[in-house]
Symmetry: C2
Subunit: 386 residues, 2 copies
């Protein structure tokens, strides 16, 4: 895997779109600080974000190329991206962990009276200590620069994938698909769920994942209690529904989908619930055309899985996907985002069979101009039997 | 793996220490919002943090039990921890993503005029959108509550591990140690580095890791250019130094160490550099006794690896470790933290052989009352040959 699987033209296109958006919003620069945002603009790919210690910044001015303001430990790796202006400090620095350098660089790029935009919307953060945020704000105010939101500019741009990005997501989904097809090799009555989790991650790696950032799931009689749990050591038993939900990464792009398995023949209500989940994803898929709204997909699935109750505790019935496991938009009643070609989405309906017994199914799709494409399966109506 | 490998008494002890600290600082409550902090206080363990969409909060009042303010998708999992007061909203909510519920709950727990403490120090964040932080601040101000720092209380408490925590970190280190011992099975001339990375992660899982949150490394002739890169597809070649640095997780606790390998006999300068790295970790280990300071360990290593230049671009020569891959303290000249029994540290010296050619070595230790213990290896002075 090279530092970036995408050519510099891809990043130049992204830059141009951001700068068009900044100009429209009257902002003079955009400040980015998260893994996915730095990957989007710079192609900077590292697992070092797992270390919370150091902040990392990328500034996108309204005109000109982006500027990285990063710890010196990342200089060599950043120099392998297309970003040329890289300013470093030796982090961690207990007295000034990059704040002065960041402030100075912002003032270089953003004229007095200008506005520094920060990403806004669900899932955004300014990744730096709270006290350092206050120092930055005070410094900017003293220098006559304002802080504003980006009007969800970055969220909107990132939600529409380029053909090259779609190719990468498709390949990641295919990796996970091959791993799911091999679940019968690793899961059977008597195998502890924790062992299934370990072996499934190894299957994902064997099938081409670079790493496995996410695996959740459950196994319980006739349905499970939640979908975000790590594994316990309970052995799989006849009558269990086993669910594995994985987000693996390959060349910087995620998939996010699950599969359900019945240990032995499923209970009739489990079989019916699985059929309805498949029916729900098919209904959303049929609607997923350019011009439809995200909330329309929600309602199409919600009618089938709850009779139109308006959702459940899971909160949403799918979401965007790409550089992160979950991105915007969100398949909820309030999200009226209009679908565009290039949007990659998960369809993720769930059914509550009884308190503590649910089934959740998830597929990934990409909206295209002429047609919408399954990136996963889609799974059959009949739940898989182990 | 159960939801928490630790008994409720462990969490009650932590709560008592936090509340003693809050009382001393005059704060009425502490607001937590990150994976590691929720794991520390609640034992809430999930990989769902990989999804950036939803904020999660835990409030620790100056008296009484903690209160969770979380998305409803996490209610069932949180109910399996020792936290009993769990307040949920259906996230994501585009108009009010938990801010009102959080504000209301803070005002329940914190009398008017009181101070809400936030964790401060390197690596801390308030994990919620920037605009929602401003809403929370305005709401608290309107209700007569102040925001303050925690005086690095949580950092200090988390840096000293209990005997039960040390047992868990020791077991995680042992997993990685077994995987490193098997590297000769997967790495040889001609194997692409990306394949070595995949296979090494599979070895970590086979040896008992629950998952592998971190793997970085490199392979290049006579030393590598940085230590935070993902793998490329270049085949290993004779004369390469291969470095694998992994942070795997088992029952919620990390290890973080690396091993270097020479493909064929090492160049003399590589062999000497490795010997000096081992000498440096041994020198720091010999000093690592209760009462010594973190900066003393830094200088002991820095004298050996740079002749006392005061460090390099990597920024530090080791750090704390436990619930996160990297924690405080930091082995830098400015960190005068006094070592206490129970502190788990990495010793991570590096040597620059030439521009773009370095070697970094890393071990994990735990400071104990009567003695200090290697949690890893320690590696031999001679670099391993493949």
């Amino acid at each position: 895997m090279s530092q970036s699987a995408l050519p510099e033209t891809e990043y130049r296109d992204r830059l141009a779109r951001i700068q068009t958006g900044l100009a429209a919003a009257g902002a003079g620069a955009l400040l980015l600080s998260t893994d996915a945002d730095l990957r989007y603009v710079a192609g900077f790919l590292t697992r070092f974000w797992e270390s919370p210690t150091r902040p990392w910044f990328l500034l996108v001015p309204a005109r000109g190329d982006p500027v990285a303001v990063i710890p010196s430990i990342g200089q060599a790796l950043m120099a392998r991206t297309w970003v040329r202006d890289i300013r470093c400090w030796r982090a961690p620095d207990m007295s000034d962990d990059g704040v002065s350098l960041l402030l100075h660089t912002i003032c270089d790029l953003l004229p007095a009276g200008g506005t520094l935009a920060l990403p806004e919307g669900l899932g955004t953060t300014l990744r730096m200590p709270y006290a350092d945020q206050r120092r930055l704000e005070a410094g900017l105010a003293a220098q006559g620069r304002r802080i504003g939101g980006d009007g969800r500019l970055l969220e909107r741009l990132r939600s529409v994938k380029s053909p090259a990005e779609i190719t990468l997501v498709r390949a990641t989904c295919a990796c996970a698909g091959r791993a799911f097809a091999r679940v019968p090799e690793i899961a059977a009555e008597g195998v502890p769920l924790s062992q299934v989790f370990r072996d499934f991650q190894a299957l994902c790696l064997a099938e081409g994942a670079d790493w496995v950032p996410y695996l959740a799931g459950a196994a319980a009689p006739g349905g499970y209690g939640d979908v975000i749990s790590p594994a316990d050591d309970r052995p799989l038993a006849r009558g269990d529904v086993l669910m594995l939900d994985t987000g693996l990464i390959r060349q910087g792009y995620f998939c996010d989908f699950d599969r359900n398995f019945s240990l032995g023949p499923p209970l009739p209500e489990v079989a019916r619930a699985h059929e309805r989940l498949i029916e729900a994803t098919q209904a959303a898929f049929a609607l997923a055309r350019p011009g439809a709204r995200v909330c329309d997909l929600f309602h199409a699935m919600d009618r089938i899985v709850t009779g139109g109750a308006g959702g459940s505790g899971a909160g949403r019935l799918g979401h965007g996907l790409g550089l992160q496991l979950t991105e915007q938009p969100s398949l909820i009643p309030e999200d009226e985002t209009v679908l565009e070609p290039g949007m990659v989405l998960t369809l993720e309906p769930g059914i509550d069979l009884a308190p503590g017994r649910m089934l959740v199914h998830e597929e990934n799709i990409v909206v295209q101009a002429g047609h919408t494409e399954w990136l996963t399966g889609p799974a059959d109506a009949a739940i898989l039997e182990l």
